[in-house]
């Protein structure tokens, strides 16, 4: 885990920039081999994102959950854990927001909406906290527990929606009266589904930065992440830090869920499979080198590429799957650079040792 962290936690911005350019080049090469025009394709991609106010707004909508799940994965990563369960935490956040939004609908809006959002964050945090607790108390690897909890969350969320919130004869919950939509922007963005979640995501990134780098608790968490044995020796409570960092990571993911149901859909459907926000979040976190502001930038790029891929197939007849190749190669190049460094490192160590000897 430490090695992995060193690769993705370097503070260099040159690596991702080069990786992005290389990723686009690989995508272009694949398009050329497939007989498509890469310039037209990338043009169509950016036209889809920036072409109209509606599309721009929808692209922001696409980025928002990625920002939060990316932050979630990155936060856990910084304290030495690999949160693959952001997907489940998003689902639990969604469900909590839906239940509160529907069952407490009698409350005035200024109370109901914050309550639903806070509830989503808390429940998402507690869901991740289960994995944190198991890791802290029993030493069970969080990679395994979070993956397992994803499935539990999926079926639990479906069960709750089906049993308590369902509209008979439909595959979804009742409409949620609580809304996070930025309705006053509707006229500017042509009814694109913008919501407060974007603001929350940006605030979460700032919180992430200040908490980890400017507070004592954050210092402890980073110390635990860098070397838990050293941290313990220095008198830090490793277990508490592990649980706390998983909880905060879960809060981020839970908030993403609140944004989706209260801001985008205004209802919760019964999911046939995992919605995948959390897995995209892993890619975003790695792309952003697990730095909060890097994650935000990575989410913007990832969201633009995902949203714009429909434009590629619409205007340039390029299959939308191709954008996955671009994203995949970007991540690969970020990792490959690290791998190269990592492979070289032992040789350097040896040489130093020889000199010393």
């Amino acid at each position: 885990m430490n090695k992995l962290k060193k690769i993705f936690a370097t503070d260099s911005y040159i690596v991702p920039l080069v990786a992005i350019i290389l990723g686009f080049l690989v995508g272009a090469a694949v398009m050329l081999i497939g007989g498509y025009d890469p310039i037209a394709a990338y043009g169509a991609l950016f036209k889809r994102v920036f072409g109209s106010a509606y599309d721009f707004g929808e692209a922001i909508r696409e980025m928002t959950p990625l920002m939060l799940t990316g932050l979630s994965v990155a936060f856990a990563f910084r304290s030495g854990m690999f949160n693959i369960g952001a997907d489940g935490q998003v689902l639990i956040g969604m469900t909590a927001a839906s239940v509160i939004g529907i069952k407490l609908a009698g409350l005035p809006t200024f109370l109901l909406v914050p309550l639903a959002v806070i509830g989503a964050g808390l429940f998402g945090g507690m869901w991740a906290g289960i994995a944190g607790y198991l890791k802290a108390k029993r030493g069970i690897n969080e990679v395994i527990t979070t993956i397992m909890l994803n499935w539990v969350a999926l079926y639990l969320a479906n069960y709750i929606v089906r049993t308590f919130l369902l509209i008979p004869g439909q595959n979804r919950s009742e409409d949620i009266p609580a809304s996070m939509s930025l309705t006053f922007l509707n006229s500017i963005f042509d009814n694109a589904r913008l919501h407060w979640g974007t603001v929350i995501a940006l605030a979460a990134a700032v919180f992430f930065y200040i908490y980890l780098w400017k507070t004592k608790q954050g210092f402890e968490m980073r110390a635990v992440g860098l070397n838990s044995h050293a941290a313990e020796y220095a008198g830090m409570n490793v277990r508490r830090n592990v649980m706390k960092s998983m909880f905060i990571a879960g809060v981020f993911a839970g908030l993403a869920g609140a944004g989706e149901v209260l801001g985008v859909f205004h209802y919760q459907s019964v999911f046939a499979g995992s919605p995948g926000y959390g897995f995209d979040g892993i890619a975003v976190a790695l792309l952003g080198l697990t730095h909060p502001f890097g994650v935000i930038l990575a989410a913007i790029l990832y969201g633009m590429l995902t949203y714009g891929s429909a434009g590629m197939s619409f205007n340039a007849d390029v299959p939308p799957e191709l954008i996955r190749i671009v994203i995949g190669s970007i991540i690969f190049f970020i990792a490959a650079q690290g791998i190269v460094r990592w492979v070289l490192k032992p040789f350097y160590f040896k040489r130093k040792k020889e000199k010393v000897l």
Binding site: Y54, I84, G169, N191, V270, A272, T306
Partner: protein
């Protein structure tokens, strides 16, 4: 030891990239059949110039190569493009959040007709239709109440009744089973029709009903099928999209192993063409392609009304059994099926919907 640890890290890293790559799109990139589209318009056969008419369709998360109704719909549109020279185009939805922007893409681009394929698209389509009262839209499998939307649904219960008749008369163990994808009004119609069909010809037969909870899990379908066949059911009717492929798989391996003969009843398309006559008893066909063709033609002719719901049943050939059924179903049974079909068309039998 350290080497193994390092290797495991590399594996984990690779795993991450794979996870990230397959995150939200569950359509594995086999986009070869439907990708080169729309560009070669206006083929010579067109009698009138329809190239200014553009028809778009938005798939649900199943994608355009789902071997089921998205694919039928797209094939119908492509055939229409050849036939009448209209321009067609599709957009694939990676997640349900993309339904709305994808529909809007066509609407705002001035398409003459925009199709939403699938029950799940109802809410998004309704919103888009409300915001763009001049646009023409159509939806399959759901009813959207808006003056500019044409809704097409099917009487799956009627077609399922007929395959129920076949199952009731063919079963040797007097036990047949139904596997649904997810609980929804559409799948309920399959279930209710099937049960009524079996009961009509063989009241003593037992119908076991289970739900897989997913349309895209062939492994779940396979294990459910194994359980059901072990319990003595010899015919299974899966109405569960790709989950049903696992049922075919299980039946195939059982028949090959040479136990007692088991059957599967196909759904949506004539699945004997794909899975073979050795396991496919018959299929409950749902002619999504016909529906897409008929409504799209209305737009070309200028007779599109909107605001109406078309229910395609047995009498419109919207549902029914394929010709290939006679490979496995005896002529006596097929005669019975025709008899029941006539009775349903004449209104003598009312098939329940839930």
């Amino acid at each position: 030891m350290k080497k193994i640890y390092q290797l495991s890290l590399v594996m984990l890293l690779a795993f991450t990239v794979i996870l990230a790559g397959c995150g939200s799109d569950n359509n594995n990139a086999s986009g070869d059949t439907g990708t080169n589209t729309g560009t070669n318009t206006g083929s010579g056969e067109a009698t009138t110039d329809n190239s200014n008419i553009k028809i778009g369709m938005v798939t649900d998360v199943g994608g355009v190569n789902d071997k089921s109704f998205n694919q039928s719909a797209w094939e119908a549109l492509k055939a229409l493009e050849k036939e009448s020279g209209v321009k067609v185009q599709y957009l694939q939805s990676n997640s349900s959040a993309n339904y709305e922007p994808n529909l809007n893409q066509f609407v705002k681009d001035g398409y003459s007709l925009t199709w939403g394929i699938g029950f799940d698209m109802g809410d998004s389509l309704k919103k888009v239709a409300g915001e763009n009262p001049d646009a023409k839209l159509a939806i399959i499998d759901n009813v959207v109440d808006a003056p500019n939307v044409e809704s097409v649904t099917f009487s799956e219960n009627e077609g399922s009744f007929l395959v129920g008749v076949v199952a009731g008369l063919t079963t040797k163990t007097n036990k047949v089973a139904f596997i649904g994808g997810m609980q929804s009004p559409v799948i309920k119609r399959f279930e209710a029709g099937f049960k009524a069909g079996v009961a009509a010809v063989n009241p003593s037969a037992k119908v076991t009903v289970t739900y897989a909870g997913a349309y895209d899990k062939p492994d779940t379908g396979k294990s459910l099928a194994a359980t059901l066949y072990d319990a003595g059911n010899d015919i299974i009717f899966p109405a569960a999209g790709a989950t049903g492929n696992g049922v075919f798989n299980e039946a195939k391996s059982r028949n090959k192993a040479g136990g007692s003969k088991v059957w599967v009843i196909g759904v949506d398309k004539d699945q004997s063409l794909e899975f073979g006559d050795d396991v496919t008893l018959t299929s409950m066909m749902k002619r999504v392609d016909e529906a897409v063709k008929v409504v799209s033609k209305q737009v070309i002719d200028g007779t599109f009304k909107g605001g109406t719901t078309t229910v395609l049943g047995l009498k419109d050939n919207g549902v029914g059994l394929p010709e290939t059924s006679k490979a496995n179903v005896s002529a006596d049974i097929l005669a019975k099926v025709d008899d029941y079909k006539q009775q349903i068309i004449d209104g003598k039998i009312k098939v329940p919907t839930e």
